[in-house]
Amino acid sequence: MEAQSQPAVAMEARGVSKIFRGPEGDFHALDSVSVSIAEGEFFTLLGPSGCGKTTLLRMIAGFEHPSAGQLLLHGEDISDLPPYRRQVNTVFQSYALFPHLSVAENIAFGLRMLGRPNAEVDQTVDRMLKLVKMEPMRNRLTSQISGGQQQRVALARALAPAPKVLLLDEPLSALDLKLRKEMQIELKRLQHETGITFIFVTHDQEEALTMSDRIAVMRDGHVLQIGAPREIYDQPANRFVASFIGETNFLSATSEGIVDGGIRIRIGDTVSVETDLPDGVDPKGDLTVVVRPEHIVLRERGAPDTLSATLTNAVYFGTDTHYHLELASGQHPIARRQNAAGAPERVEIGAAIGVAFAPSAARLLRD
């Protein structure tokens, strides 16, 4: 998708490492990480805590210095610049709004420090207040507004100087679920309207999937996979990515031989499918396939191309129901079925059933 029109690169990390030296030995927070983020992209760094995503963000902002490697902002090496000389702004997890300044003064802060003329500052502040729908609150102190409103002011403050890249450090984690959903949409709108490159850090895979143009999945200081949300969900690069993003069933499989364009594998005694053979998978070793719960279909016991299973539990979730299954192999996959109108008959717990999935739904995985 980038092949046709090469968008300019906004931010690039080249072999960036960060080693924190401590009395109990060195900690490699980042190990030779390279990413390239296009202009105008909504790019997410996703991973569990301690994976290095925040360290990378703080490095781009200038609060940490890389132990090795380069950081390029629009092609210019910024690795040695102090934070106040980098044209990037941050929305902090704690917002860090200045408590002694009003909403409007908070938003104006960056522009004033840049020495912009008063008329321009006032104009931009008005525009920003409008953008985040906070005009009536302009003269309030930040302690006098709600958490969701503080979030908007933090965004406006960081956007006001029109940075080349906006960094967002888990900005939604302090909000309750309903507000978080609203702000996800709001963030997408702001990004669309301003056209600014967003680098978003989160540990919430759902947030990453719904908001991002591309996601970098990180773990232990390494980038495991970079791709569009769909790519990462449908074609996880390894077991960790598959289990971290969404719910996943892992089924063991055996090889039946290399075929044209892939490999034929057998799952259980009864199912045999052809699938791609990803790089790094040893076709002679133990194989694992990943099948997402929504791709598993419940059938009658003994139907063709099904695995024999027993239903051990059914959990109702409102929009859908999760069926917990036990296979003859002893594995316990979960199937998800939507509770659509005209929902099918209830399945009794303990019933002997068959489990099927489309051949394309099963993907071989590296460990």
Partner: protein, 276 residues
């Protein structure tokens, strides 16, 4: 045994020492001990007679006579001048010390620095007084200067920790993320200090200055040792008066000092309690 206490104390009531026998009585006795002398002092400042033990009716005559007393006027002005200058110097030093011990990375000897700054709280005042007396005597001999500066400097020295503690507490309660955010928004280190750190720490600075002012105002020991002839402050003047003859004029001055101190400390607590 369990029955009466469980009926007396309603279930779910948290532990309270008020239910220990005699606790309330001891507490009340302590307050009487603390405040009865002060109440007596204030009361007799309004006594119409010459005695400080015999009540002869309400009057403001001792306030009037203290106000008209030139020696009292002179001592009051000197006390205020010394307190203003000393607390100003002490607050400036304490502000820098507080920044140096909270807005820096951890450095070796931090605890030693902390102890050194708070030295006047730990060293007995009489030791400081004697040390200053001898030290200043050497300077006086060398320079011939005998002005008020010795007193100001001495007061500034022992006021530093009193100003330092509230300022440091304020800075420690202030999240570093504000300064981080300022740097992110193009503020140089100096501008970060000027536009973020300083305004946020101001309540702590004012509180520290007030505490230092009050401490300087009522110092006797160090002043008594350091002052040159004719440099009485209000407390040392009162001490001198009491040696000769006790009149309710001293009560009146004390009451006025008490009122000023209470006022300043009220402001101090209002400033240190407010957060954020």
């Amino acid at each position: 045994m369990a029955e009466p206490s469980s009926t007396r104390r309603r279930s779910g009531r948290p532990f309270s020492v008020r239910h220990l026998p005699g606790f309330t009585l001891v507490a009340a006795a302590c307050f009487v001990m603390l405040y009865a002398p002060i109440v007596t002092l204030v009361t007799y400042s309004f006594n119409g007679g010459e005695s400080i033990a015999l009540w002869e009716g309400f009057s403001l005559r001792w306030y009037v006579s203290a106000w008209a007393n030139e020696a009292v006027q002179e001592a009051t002005v000197r006390s205020l001048v010394v307190a203003v200058l000393a607390s100003g110097i002490a607050t400036a030093l304490a502000t820098m010390a507080a920044l140096g011990t909270t807005r820096t990375g951890p450095f070796p000897g931090r605890m030693v620095i902390y102890a050194l700054i708070n030295q006047p709280l730990m060293v007995p005042e009489i030791v400081t007084a004697v040390a200053l007396l001898i030290f200043f005597a050497m300077i006086k001999i060398a320079t011939g200067y005998t002005g008020l500066a010795y007193l100001v400097l001495a007061h500034a020295a022992f006021c530093v920790p009193f100003a330092y503690l509230p300022i440091r507490a304020r800075l420690e309660g202030m999240d570093l993320s504000y300064e981080t955010a300022a740097a992110d928004l193009y503020a140089t280190p100096w501008r970060t200090f000027r536009y973020v750190t300083l305004p946020l720490m101001t309540p702590g600075i004012v509180a520290g200055a007030m505490l230092a002012f009050v401490i300087s105002l009522d110092d006797v020991v160090i002043t008594e040792f350091v002052k040159s002839a004719g440099q009485d402050t209000l407390p040392t003047y009162m001490l001198g008066q009491l040696r000769r003859m006790v009149t309710p004029e001293v009560n009146a001055i004390s009451t006025a000092l008490l009122a000023l101190t209470v006022l300043l400390l009220t402001v101090f607590f209002a400033l240190t309690r407010k957060r954020g």
